[in-house]
Symmetry: C2
Subunit: 370 residues, 2 copies
């Protein structure tokens, strides 16, 4: 059952029911424009695992994005159902039922997927050729995340050779994503991590091409490091996901002087529900309204109140000495610690133009775990 | 949009699509029976914020529970829509639209709510009498959580007097819940915290009754402390929520020799999706498949693998020296760190009898934030 829609188009901010996920459309559009302008020389395939919302994807495609990434077969299904024509699942798909579902999607859209073992190549090939479709396949190489992916170099070549000769599969290139590098706090650390990843990806691409195979695409990158992949001469497709929205954890990354700044556009709008305890105000947004994996939410635009503690359905605001008056039903904008899993808690994004509700979008792939 | 149902009744465990929230029905039913047997002399009103599932509530009511608790108006709406006849919202409801919705529910069920300020009494009274319904109202007192609630004693009496004379409201008693006490790690700490809360609740009850008002119910308690409230001579209604399921965080509470033991019945069933990186296996359940506010999930029944790290859609299992063989599509049972916000990530509970799917229940109030 989806949640009730928390606002109607044309509502004033004060009429939005809390807690609600709200988007400052002006800041959001500036973020989209900045990334589009900065990536004109390369392929931008933004990651939709962040927001899970087809309406956001259409706005990215209209600014030149070549397609979209997601992480789960069920996410891909939601985007294909919404008409998105080109979806790359930046993940291994290994369960037989999921492989079958992925192949069914390839009847209606260009579908890409990653592999990191030979048996999976056979399973994908059998399913795709059985279904009469072609899957775009990328070899995932481990460039530092130590999560999925074969080692760079020869092991990747061996896999690429299997893909290149497998019925129903089209070898597209390499997937080289360094997740841990996104949140390294200094520009130098991020640059260095991606330089190491670039050397591994370049070596692997060369090994594959020297063997006579075509490695058209090297894809990867995130909101923390994309400029380094863009400028590397190795990647030719970029996958940042959080840049339209941002979050408190990305806010803790120090930026270089020439880094492009993305604005915080995403907030949880919370309402004050109790001021009975001295020195505190309690809001209606707690552990089920934010993901806390990257710390507490931050109060936006206020220094006199701080979100200091959460329980399942309550957030505790601590009031500093001399704080502005605060009363029940007051609204507070809170910046999520981590935007991706916070989107996953909501069914709707309330788009605000100033203090007016301009649109409400469905988070269509909310909860798409499979 | 709800998630796809991950299993069909009659399926073997191996056919359940991962990640899925699965329930060991034997352990779950033993937990329900143990709590029912231990609370025969008092009113049990289990908290449904934990599981958000009407099917679970019916099983609790069939074992003698007097009704159910929840935390949000939209949760109450989901339970009333499922036919549950008696719902207490253990929270303040202050937004006008939510108050109106709460009153509408009171046409079809007994609806209770908490208050901790005079203006809210007026708002509830106006709305209830306007709608031609009666709301059960409880004064929330602060017994140590420092969240919502008026101070014990005279401030609570002043509020009770307003409720008792307000049209459309029925004063039912006190809400005295000490959330922080549930996870104090030693039995002595928990006992001492509830003893202090009991003294405050008893004093407040006496002040109210000495003023000539009826304070029929003192309600509160959770899975960590319920035996102390039960034995206090103060509380006559208990609200534990997690006991049918349990989680890793409750598992860290040391128990007294005579504490009743509840078994872990709730798991996330995850599937292995990659073994490409030496010493690790990657499962398909990460930050969107568990709430991480109370730490990492634990691998159930295995000491040779440990869940050591999560990203949005991946969980990293570290393989100990001499580990059992592990391969793609292997299934792993993982114990959530915190059950309540983990239920909120799923639309379905897959009920297992042994290794067979016996039932699939809708988490009808999933995402009911308002």
């Amino acid at each position: 059952m989806a949640q009730r829609i928390p606002a109607r188009v044309g509502d004033d901010l004060a009429a939005v029911e809390t807690p609600a996920l709200v988007l400052d459309l002006d800041a959001f559009e500036r973020n989209l424009d900045r990334m589009a302008a900065a990536t004109t020389g390369t392929r931008l395939r933004p990651h939709a695992k962040a927001h899970k919302c087809p309406d956001v994807v259409w706005l990215q495609l209209s600014r030149g994005a070549v397609g979209v990434c997601c992480q789960k077969t069920d996410e891909a299904a939601a985007f294909v159902a919404a008409g998105i024509p080109d979806v790359l699942v930046t993940n291994e798909v290994v369960a037989p039922a999921k492989i079958a579902r992925l192949c069914a999607l390839a009847r209606d859209a260009t579908i890409g997927v990653l592999v990191d073992e030979p048996a999976n190549v056979i399973a994908l090939s059998d399913a795709a050729s059985g279904a009469g479709v072609t899957l775009d396949v990328y070899v995932e190489i481990n460039v530092g995340a130590d999560r999925c992916g074969v080692p760079p170099g020869e092991p990747a070549l061996a896999l690429a050779q299997r893909i290149a000769t497998a019925a129903g599969l089209r070898l597209r290139g390499l997937h080289a994503y360094h997740g841990g590098a996104q949140h390294l706090r200094t520009p130098d650390e991020r640059r260095a991590a991606i330089a190491r990843a670039a050397a591994l990806a370049a070596e692997t691409r060369d090994v594959i091409e020297n063997a006579g195979l075509v490695c058209s695409i090297v894809t990867g990158a995130g909101t923390g490091t994309w400029r380094h992949e863009r400028d590397s001469g190795v990647w030719n497709e970029l996958q940042p996901g959080s840049y339209p929205f941002m979050d408190a954890d990305y806010g803790r990354n120090a930026l270089a002087d020439d880094d492009i700044v993305f604005e915080q556009s995403l907030f949880v709008l919370a309402g004050v529900m109790s001021t009975a305890v001295e020195g505190r105000a309690i809001v209606d947004a707690g552990l089920k309204a934010f993901s806390f994996d990257s710390g507490l939410p931050q109060v936006h635009g206020r220094t006199d109140i701080a979100y200091v503690k959460a329980s399942d359905e309550h957030g505790v605001l601590e009031l500093a000495r001399g704080h502005a008056p605060i009363a029940r039903n007051d609204l507070v904008r809170l910046v999520p610690g981590h935007c991706d899993p916070t989107f996953n808690l909501y069914d709707w994004i309330v788009g605000l133009r100033g203090d007016r509700v301009e649109t409400v979008w469905s988070i269509a792939a909310r909860g798409a775990l499979g």
